[in-house]
Subunit: 206 residues, 2 copies
Amino acid sequence: MAQTAAKKPSRIQLRNRRRIMDAALEVFSQHGYRGATLDQIAEGAGMSKPNLIYYFDGKEAIHVALLNALMTEWLAPLQDMNPGGEPLDEILTYVRRKMEMSRLYPRESRLFANEILQGAPRMGPHLVSGLKPLFDEKAALIGRWMEDGRLAKSDPQQLILSIWAITQHYADFDAQIRALIPDEAAGWDAANAHVERIFRELLTAN
Amino acid sequence: MAQTAAKKPSRIQLRNRRRIMDAALEVFSQHGYRGATLDQIAEGAGMSKPNLIYYFDGKEAIHVALLNALMTEWLAPLQDMNPGGEPLDEILTYVRRKMEMSRLYPRESRLFANEILQGAPRMGPHLVSGLKPLFDEKAALIGRWMEDGRLAKSDPQQLILSIWAITQHYADFDAQIRALIPDEAAGWDAANAHVERIFRELLTAN
DNA sequence: TCGTACCTTTACCAAATGGTAAAAAACACG
DNA sequence: CGTGTTTTTTACCATTTGGTAAAGGTACGA
């Protein structure tokens, strides 16, 4: 049972698992859970299907492993929002980092979007146990900043949602955006400027 | 060939096609294209699978029919943005109508999101031929309003994108939102207020 | 009421898909 | 080397799934 991994993982194991996760991210993010096939993932990972199964208990196990790994990295920018910092800076920095993630890691964003779109069937608990505490903590922090008059008042929870909505949109709806704005040149610059402007105006309203 | 529909569709045909589209919307929006099965749709429509195929040429034909129907209704609010109206009102009305659509027709929003997420494989042409002209027209309109000093200046294309991002997020990421903000009571009121505030601040910035 | 066109069901099918069994190959290491 | 363990391959399999063939019902105008 390579999966239980109570022992030390061998070099080969490490390499192949990484390959699998990589290929799986590609396939799952592009086709969704049910649209992805083990054959596609196996081909992407450069190994046979039974060999996949040797490293992961099955299709669902791969997907869950991906989501788990994703969750951790994904939350870092929010986690880094510093209660001791300058409120506007902290939030705009968060916004910028989210934009950067959408630009650099669109597959991860789409994997997540796919899962949520379908009702988070393999992630519901994770949302509540992993994301919600952080969400509540940071919403409370922002709320305090607003109370202290360091930011224009608005609904902190809604604020976070709208940051997610706008920033992730650039990754998730990339196909649409490219169809509507074919000019790729200043694409990300215009997007970054606009998004920053939105939240700056909102948070510094008189 | 019931599908070519060069004749008058009978009562039964009308009724059954509507049933199928309804069931298909439910299934496709929840599971994505490949995750949906004809059996599920057939069951939802209350008929046998071969009977489905009698009314539509196949799985893909149903999906395409859905997307086509969706496109038309979906564009109405943007189409209604009136060049003769008061700019801020026109845009905020558009925002409100989009929020209303997310609240009332989340399945349609998710169907669309699913298709875009996967690269718009069955919709690419439609985006360019149907959506892009309208997008360009309205972006130009908003641009003129800004030039005339009737709205705070920003990037009109990005503005429209951000309206879509935020409003559709409430439908597409509903599962996440409900996990994070279980209090359903003032959910839509808070969302509506926040979203309106965002765009009001942006468009009336000094 | 009869015929015809429309609608529905029953019985299938080929391909795809997630997964298994077991033998063969590669490897680690004393 | 030789031997026990890890990794990979080959050959399958049961189920699911999109779709078809063809016969049986049903509505409805003449």
